[in-house]
């Protein structure tokens, strides 16, 4: 409880360095030492390393508050957001690596945006309305607040990529759409403004790259920094898609 001056821990950051843009670069682990500060997050630690020790270190940050989803990385083997990870909760040695599956930009920086865009285009993760009803001047029908809340709950996804990096299936099979996509399908399925039916959704996720590829390891659910109810949503979608698929 006392706030007397403490001797701070010496942290050792072992960071996987590799720049694929450099022709002669080889992947290697580089170690940086840093004195821990109270309330230090990995964002603070990495910024300090970059400012004081190695300006060539690449990593992504925007919001520092778990909203933008840019700073997903493997922290001691598990995907998580660096800005939301407090160094206090880790041992003296912290191993950092870029998220797998996604295209590597350099060091800890990966191109999740490219992957997410591809997924979004493939699975059409936007509201689909009937053509003749498109009238942008029309006042939108009110939505039941409970339903709006339910949709919003799933819409909290920040596309950080942790669920994909934490998924055994996605690691093995690159065509697997991942929990982020299944969550989005579940979200648009709830939305009354989306005119698609289960038959349409089956066309998007009714195969082994979609919901049936999920082996329920629940890595996604357990690493999601936004605590999205992925277990429940994927199970729900699986039941709906099996019902659709066995209907004939």
């Amino acid at each position: 409880m006392a706030s007397a001056p403490q001797s701070h821990r010496k942290l050792r950051f072992h960071i996987l360095r590799y720049n694929p843009a450099k022709a002669d670069d080889e992947p290697r682990i580089q170690t940086y030492e840093l004195e821990e500060a109270p309330g230090m997050t990995l964002f603070i630690a990495l910024t300090e390393i970059r400012e004081k020790q190695d300006p060539s270190l690449q990593f992504d940050f925007v919001c520092r508050a778990g909203i933008c989803g840019s700073c997903g990385m493997m922290i001691n083997g598990r995907p998580s957001l660096a800005c939301r990870s407090v160094t206090q909760s880790f041992p003296d040695d912290i191993w950092l690596a870029p998220l797998p599956v996604f295209e590597l930009i350099g060091d800890l920086s990966v191109n999740t945006g490219k992957w997410m865009r591809g997924m979004s285009e493939k699975l059409e993760t936007w509201v689909h309305m009937k053509q003749e009803e498109l009238d942008f001047k029309r006042i939108e029908a009110p939505m039941d607040p409970a339903l709006a809340e339910e949709i919003y709950e799933l819409d909290r996804c920040i596309e950080c990529g942790c669920c994909v990096a934490g998924c055994g299936t996605a690691r093995m099979r690159e065509d697997f759409v991942g929990a982020v996509a299944l969550n989005k399908i579940a979200r648009f399925r709830l939305d009354p403004r989306d005119d698609r039916t289960d038959e349409d959704f089956y066309e998007l996720v009714g195969d082994d790259n979609g919901v049936f590829g999920c082996m329920s390891l629940l890595g996604c659910h357990d690493v999601c920094p936004k605590q999205l109810p992925l277990q429940t949503q994927i199970a729900f979608l699986r039941r709906k898609m099996v019902a659709q698929g066995t209907k004939g």
């Binding site: 689909h128 066309e203 082996m215 390891l217 890595g219 277990q231």
Partner: protein
């Protein structure tokens, strides 16, 4: 296909060929066959463990399955029919579950590295499911073939002689661990996969399911080991007269007089 799809904005859903229904059927069939096999295994364990009560109890169970108490005569062929059914379900389950295995070295390496780094319980448990499932291709099949072809050779002495004199105990020992781990993990996974027993608080339910899974696995492993131990003991003591058929003192005449 529903007719309104052409009118959905800007996506060309109508132009797409309709997706196969087989992935849905296969997903459902994989879970269903797994559920049937896991529940069968639990029942099976209770039946074989009746040897812990007495030789007469185990004898009565085997005779019941041969229809002795219904027809007044034993028909081991009934057992063969059940075994053939289980074998068919096993083959189907193996065929369906195999789709999930790592299919090449790259996938194998990716998954193992992922598992080792993640230290994530359910991911590691899946790996155990793969390993035990692979083992069961061989162990379960050997056992089922024996039972299919010699359905009458189940009884307090015959089973015990098979375990000891027939040297089947190493297979049964490994089979026991493979089956109990695989089935226990599989039932837990079925629950989280389909959202069974989820209740209002899925996290708490999952924790409870996990505990229940380990308790049940421990229980069936303990019961299995005790049962195997009992057969080993009987088989060892009976080794000089291996092949002899057990007949309870109260049974007149011997219903197994034609047994080998």
């Amino acid at each position: 296909m529903s007719s309104n799809q052409e009118t959905i904005a800007g996506v060309g859903l109508a132009d797409r060929p309709r997706k196969s229904r087989w992935p849905a059927r296969m997903d459902l069939a994989q879970s269903t066959t797994g559920l049937v096999l896991a529940l069968f295994m639990w029942g099976h364990m209770f039946f074989v463990s009746t040897i812990l009560i007495s030789k007469d109890a185990m004898w009565a169970v085997t005779k019941m399955f041969e229809g002795y108490f219904f027809f007044g005569k034993a028909f081991p062929g009934i057992v063969s029919v059940v075994v053939a059914t289980i074998l068919a379900i096993l083959v189907l389950h193996a065929f369906l579950a195999m789709r999930k295995f790592p299919a090449n070295y790259r996938q194998y390496r990716e998954f193992v590295a992922h598992k080792n780094l993640m230290h994530h319980g359910d991911t590691t448990l899946w790996w155990w499911q793969v390993l035990t499932g692979f083992a069961l291709f061989f162990l379960a099949t050997v056992h089922l073939y024996q039972m299919l072809m010699h359905p009458g050779a189940i009884g307090p002495y015959q089973s015990a002689d098979r375990v000891w004199t027939g040297s089947w105990w190493p297979l049964y020992l490994v089979l026991l661990f493979a089956v109990e781990l695989h089935g226990g993990i599989g039932l837990y996974r079925l629950c989280v996969k389909w959202g069974w027993l989820e209740g209002k608080d899925p996290a708490a339910s999952r924790a409870r399911l996990k505990t229940a899974k380990w308790v049940l696995t421990a229980f069936f492993l303990a019961l299995g080991l005790l049962t195997l131990g009992a057969y080993l003991k009987i088989g060892y003591e009976h080794r000089a007269r291996a092949g002899e058929v057990y007949t309870p003192a109260w049974v007149q005449p011997n219903p197994m007089e034609k047994a080998p």
